[in-house]
């Protein structure tokens, strides 16, 4: 697991404290993550903004393994963390 993967997992875990890392990774949609609710989604959105400086439009509608989708999104934007701001 690289640093960004670990950092992203920390973001997801903080927003969904009832879910294990495997459950987060294996969830096909956000609402399949144990403990999902709209408040936790808001927390995740703010945490991603704070940690990576990125606002992902329609975050909640990302489907098919949202953890990987968010990671892919960060990769496409060349982001690692807020101390390496988006280009």
């Amino acid at each position: 697991m690289d640093d960004r993967d670990d950092h992203l997992m920390r973001c997801f875990s903080s927003a969904f404290p009832g879910a294990t890392r495997d459950e987060i990774r294996a969830a096909k949609t956000f609402d399949a993550i144990p403990g999902w609710d709209s408040l936790r989604m808001l927390n995740l959105a703010v945490v991603l903004d704070e940690e990576f400086g990125v606002q992902i439009a329609s975050l909640g509608s990302l489907e098919l393994y949202p953890f990987d989708k968010v990671k892919q999104c960060l990769t496409q934007r060349g982001l690692t963390s807020t101390d390496q701001p988006m280009s």
């Binding site: 920390r10 973001c11 903080s14 808001l42 927390n43 703010v46 945490v47 704070e50």
Partner: protein, 576 residues
């Protein structure tokens, strides 16, 4: 603290003790709730934070419906829409000129309702209130650069509301100045999340406000004393070089910050904070310097004054012994980084600060920092007596050897006054429990929430003890919390001021309990805090066996071991 840190802290495994806080606000508490809970857990990881808030958009109704007995503390966050929804952006009630007087009138009515609701709760619960932190919308015709008469009226009524409530010590109002310094007013409001989620704060503002509310709910204990250097600290100049007339602290001599510092220390001293001086100097010269009548800190407010050429840490040790306080309760200030390092190395627990004589922003920061370190909720009679009683102790009691203690105590005309009661606003009693380390049964601290719990518990009682003798008054110097049971009395907390040592007051306390409750045994909820050796030693001398957790003291053993008790006893009627 970022949101991810706050969430991780809140998500830590639940702790045994719960702290039930009602967060009253008219908006969705969302991240403010997370930050408040996270900071409360940071202050005390042993707490499980149970945060409740009421219905969205009904701050005053939530307070009117709230059951104080179900909570330990209340945080109220008021924003303009809570006082009149037309001052918010989620409803469209109109800002026409003719409506402005009615908005002011309606805000006043809301403030009256709020006052009634909070007065009902304040008798049972500690409350902290935050007045509106967000800008008023652009509804006044005078423009944004000028305060309209309506805006000024709103702010005047709000200030009056806060002033009336803060007169009672159980209501704390968040300092707007402090919040402004830490969360710039222009960067607090988030219109997007206000409209989309009903949460009007930027994350940074939520984090700052959450921390501030947690600090007011938690209230860390304040320090007891400050030890200051003299040359180039209390005054400008080297006394040995320029003499008593050459030192200065005034504007025209470019030494104003030393005058401000003197004024600040005099203010601390007047609030009962102990002030001492430690200086590598000629003692006679220092005496002469303190005789100058333009000094803003009088010699009477500084005790002891250690002036010699030995190490600073030696002076500090002597001051601590005279005050009978622990290093962690004291702040040391000196302009020399080397002296600060030497004292810091001898007393790692002590906060040691370099006096920033050439750095105005740092000096300003230091004053604010020190004011927070010595913060008090209110000033008690004992605060005025503290320094004088230490002086008296130093002059009279310390000269007495153990052999002659009996005679000396007998001649001192000591009088102890015992009072039972449960007054909710007895700040001195809880201050003693919270600040005393050496003669403290278990180090148990009583924050506002614990105090509220204690007041509600009908089984426990509070005993306070005051002392005076021919050398002067010590005021209230001991506090004991306990509960009678069949044939025994269980002591939950017990603390005695270090100023009252060597007077056998502790023996009198136990004798009083044996007699008052007619019990055969006293049980102590003792815990070794590594700092309460004086209390452990005291208990050990009363029994023939090694004391352990929750030791029991039979009356027979106490009567056999206790020395002659010299003081007159008076009892005050129970109150509270």
């Amino acid at each position: 603290m970022n949101l991810i840190d706050a969430l991780e802290r809140v998500n830590l495994p639940v702790a045994a003790h719960s702290l039930r806080v009602f967060l009253a606000c008219g908006f969705t508490p969302l991240h403010l709730e997370t930050f408040l809970a996270a900071h409360l857990r940071e202050f005390n990881p042993a707490w499980r934070i149970e945060l409740n808030s009421g219905l969205f958009g009904d701050l005053i109704g939530n307070l009117e419906r709230m059951q104080p007995e179900e909570h330990d503390a209340l945080a109220v966050v008021i924003e303009w829409p809570d006082l009149d929804s037309r001052l918010g952006l989620r409803t469209l009630g109109g800002w026409q000129v003719e409506k402005l007087p009615d908005i002011v009138k309606s805000v006043n009515q809301s403030l009256e309702r709020l006052t009634r609701a909070l007065q009902r709760i304040a008798s049972a619960l500690p409350i902290c209130i935050c007045l509106p932190t967000l800008p008023l919308p652009p509804l006044f015709y005078t423009g944004m650069r000028q305060s309209s008469v309506f805006e000024l009226g709103l702010r005047r009524n709000l200030a009056s509301f806060a002033e009336d409530l803060s007169v009672g010590r159980r209501v704390s109002v968040v300092s707007e100045q402090h919040l402004d310094e830490n969360s710039p007013p222009g960067k607090r409001f988030d219109l997007r999340t206000d409209i989309a989620q009903g949460f009007p704060y930027k994350i940074f503002h939520a984090a700052q406000l959450g921390e501030l509310l947690a600090e007011l709910i938690y209230r860390q204990g304040s320090k007891k004393g400050l030890i200051t250097d003299l040359d180039d600290t209390l005054w400008a100049g080297i006394l040995g070089e320029v003499g008593p007339e050459g030192i200065c602290w005034q504007l025209e001599q470019h030494a104003q910050i030393h005058g401000i510092y003197q004024q600040f220390l005099a203010s601390l001293a007047s609030a009962g904070i102990l002030i001492a001086a430690a200086s590598k100097n000629d003692a006679t010269l220092v005496d002469h310097a303190f005789e100058r009548d333009d000094l803003l800190l009088s010699k009477a407010s500084v005790f002891p004054i250690e002036a010699h050429w030995r190490r600073k840490s030696e002076s500090v040790q002597h001051i601590l012994t005279t005050w009978n306080v622990l290093p962690e309760s004291v702040v040391f200030v000196d302009d020399s980084p080397m002296e600060v390092a030497e004292v810091q190395s001898a007393f790692p627990e002590m906060e040691c600060l370099v006096f920033p004589r050439d750095d105005y922003p740092a000096f300003w920061g230091m004053l604010g920092h020190l004011r927070n370190r010595f913060a008090k909720i209110d000033i008690s009679d004992e605060d005025a007596l503290r320094l004088q009683s230490i002086r008296n102790s130093d002059l009279s009691w310390k000269r007495v050897g153990e052999d002659s203690l009996d005679d000396f105590l007998q001649q001192a005309d000591g009088q102890l006054t015992f009072a039972f009661g449960k007054p909710a606003d007895d700040s001195r009693a809880f201050e003693l429990l919270n600040k005393t380390n050496q003669f403290n049964l278990n180090g148990k601290r009583y924050d506002e929430a614990a105090r509220a719990k204690f007041v509600k518990d009908s089984e426990t009682c509070l005993l306070t003890v005051s002392y005076q003798d021919k050398f002067g008054k010590l005021g209230r110097i001991a506090v004991l919390i306990g509960r009678p049971s069949t044939k025994r009395f269980i002591v939950e907390s017990w603390a005695m001021s270090c100023r009252a040592f060597s007077r056998r007051i502790e023996f009198h306390c136990l004798q009083y309990i044996f007699e008052k409750f007619a019990v055969d045994e006293i049980v102590f909820e003792l815990q070794n805090t590594n700092r309460n050796a004086p209390l452990m030693t005291f208990l050990q001398q009363l029994v023939d066996w090694p004391i352990e957790a929750n030791p029991q003291l039979p009356k027979s053993s106490f009567l056999r071991k206790a020395p002659k008790m010299p003081h007159h006893i008076e009892e005050e009627p129970a109150s509270g």
